[in-house]
């Protein structure tokens, strides 16, 4: 029961975070009509991380892409 309760708590938090993120994306796109909502969403998610973690993501993706090309 405890585990279920903990899971649902995490679930509620995740849903709340997603709803908040979606509202923030909407507001920004409303202020910048040409902006791509996907870019805004990804940038907002990255902005929640420390700067070096953001670079880490960019480099991991770049390195992974290079591996796939081989």
């Amino acid at each position: 029961m405890k585990r279920l309760a903990a899971q649902s708590d995490k679930d509620i938090k995740a849903r709340r975070w997603a709803r908040r993120l979606s509202m923030r994306v909407k507001k920004i796109v409303a202020a910048h009509p040409g902006a791509d909502p996907d870019n805004i969403r990804h940038a907002l998610i990255l902005l929640e991380l420390p700067p070096f973690a953001r670079l880490q993501r960019s480099l991991i993706r770049g390195r992974a892409a290079a591996i796939y090309r081989k």
Binding site: R24, K27, I28, A31, H32, G34, A35, D36, N39, I40, H42, A43, L44, L46, L47, L49, P50, P51, F52, A53, R54, L55, Q56, R57, S58, L59, I60, R61, G62, R63, A65, A66
Partner: protein, 158 residues
């Protein structure tokens, strides 16, 4: 748990050595754009040096087993050595002012006890707009949207 660092210990040593020897450089290009949150992909870290072949730069590189290799017919200028594989050299940025002017407005990111200078997102965008190569045209909208997101995030916090 601390966030993972994008650099290996050797790569950190190289950056720290350059900073300790007061070599004037900054991170530019898409890796610099990643710092303020641009969702971009890159395979290397571009470093813009004010002066190449400077004795302090040579000393800093030597200390970590790297070296500056001037351009030749077959190769562009580069940093040689396994510690330097991630880094590319830049000596000119399209659409931007002189190094001395641009470094005044760059962003500082803490790297251990030292500060790494990183070109601001606004200036990266200016450079991409001026260069306007096919690959720049793909990233320009992403950089613009990141600026909008950063501005929006700042306003929403207030």
């Amino acid at each position: 748990m601390a966030a993972p660092l994008p650099f290996t210990e050797n790569e950190r040593r190289l950056l720290r050595s350059l900073l300790r020897h007061e070599v004037r450089f900054m991170v530019v290009g898409l890796s610099a754009a990643a710092f303020p949150g641009a969702p971009v992909i890159t395979q290397d870290v571009d470093l813009w040096f004010e002066k190449l072949g400077d004795p302090e730069m040579s000393r800093a590189l030597q200390e970590v087993g790297a070296a500056y290799v001037p351009p030749s017919i077959n190769n562009p200028r580069m940093l040689a050595g396994t510690v330097a594989e991630l880094f590319d050299i830049v000596i000119r940025m399209d659409g931007l002012g002189k190094f001395a002017d641009e470094i005044e407005n760059c962003v500082e990111i803490q790297l251990g006890h030292q500060k790494l200078k990183v070109l601001s997102l606004e200036r990266i965008l200016a450079s991409k707009l001026a260069a306007n190569r096919a690959k720049d045209q793909l990233t320009i909208p992403v950089l613009r949207d990141t600026l909008a997101a950063a501005l929006g995030a700042k306003r929403q916090k207030i």
